[in-house]
Symmetry: C2
Subunit: 211 residues, 2 copies
């Protein structure tokens, strides 16, 4: 039962000041990544946004690689925690909980932070092994949560079927990132997508039968 510990790659900050700095650095890095893209996410831009010097930045993060690791871990774990919160907070009727999760995920596309970050992550994980691992971990957890809900809705499903359904559901929603939400289509489209997705997924889950 190994717990995946939240390990920081930054220099361990002993004074309070250092801890604040590290947070500021990661926040600044996230802003730059989201507002300007990974290509322009340079140490100097991050330092500028964080209000410190490059020298100070490299004191906490001796390499850009470690900074990127911490940044991705922080952002991704944020999404996972929020997801877990939604699952817990929703009622006890499986259908309702499923719909709550779907609607949360789709509503999240209204945040520019989301619609800009994930394509960067996907592109990054194409050629960055560590980014790929972190991304995989997050989606595995997301699919597991969705899979549980699916099995609660239709207990007759085999595990493999439920897993494939969860994968399909996850894909369908992630695919909206580039097209729906923050500054892309009209608001009505997002509402329409939500309705369509929920109805379509529930239909698919209920009517899928054992092999």
């Amino acid at each position: 039962m190994q717990e995946k510990k939240q390990q920081r790659h930054a220099r361990p900050a002993t004074y309070g000041k250092g801890q604040v700095r590290i947070d500021a650095i990661l926040d600044a890095a996230a802003e730059v990544l989201i507002n300007q893209g990974y290509k322009k996410m340079t140490l100097r831009q991050i330092a500028l946004r964080a209000g410190i010097t490059v020298g100070n930045l490299t004191y906490y993060y001796p390499s850009k690689e470690t900074l990127l690791k911490d940044l991705l871990e922080k952002i991704l774990s944020g999404y996972l925690e929020e997801m877990a919160r939604i699952v817990k907070a929703s009622g006890h009727i499986p259908e309702d909980r499923f719909v709550a999760v779907i609607e949360y995920l789709i509503d999240d596309l209204n945040r520019q932070r989301t619609t800009r970050f994930f394509p960067e992550l996907w592109a990054l994980s194409n050629h960055d092994e560590h980014a790929a691992e972190l991304m995989e971990d997050m989606y595995v957890a997301e699919r597991r949560a969705i899979c549980d809900l699916i099995q609660a809705i239709n207990p007759n499903l085999e595990l493999q079927q439920a897993k494939h359904l969860a994968l399909f559901v996850s894909c369908s929603i992630e695919g909206m990132t580039m097209f729906v939400g923050a500054g892309k289509q009209q608001e009505s489209a997002l509402q329409s997508m939500k309705k369509m997705a929920c109805e379509s997924f529930l239909l698919l889950i209920r009517q899928t039968s054992q092999a």
Copy 2:
């Protein structure tokens, strides 16, 4: 009835040699983009892969921006042409044609070229206006094709409904890019996704009623 002309941004090549060079440059650029990502898509890498010098490269493309334009236009128009070919080649029963298109799009995810290129494009279009326009043009055309098929399947649908359905279908498939196909999940998952997608989409199209 304006025709969007396929305009090259490269220096017009008068000799045959020049035309061959431009093709080689774009092919090399595509390879580098797909194999190493946009960040490493440098003029020197492209020139190396194309077997020419940087000086020669900048003779045809005086700026990296124009090279990127031609590259994206070439790749995207390739996908659009292939898509149009599939639509034309499929039978005359609407359902069959729809399924053919869906299956083509999903099967295409078996090409690493596809699963690597599109995330790069999505990330690029986050902060590159021109990339965003080209991408939008392609997806608009794709959705129009899907929308036509949807209306053929269920003529009772209002245009807006059909458009939203097409958007949902397109999103669902694009979302698979990061998770299914070339070196991601097992082959069985892709087959399962194909089956699920077709059944689910057809169900959704048939049962959606007028507002």
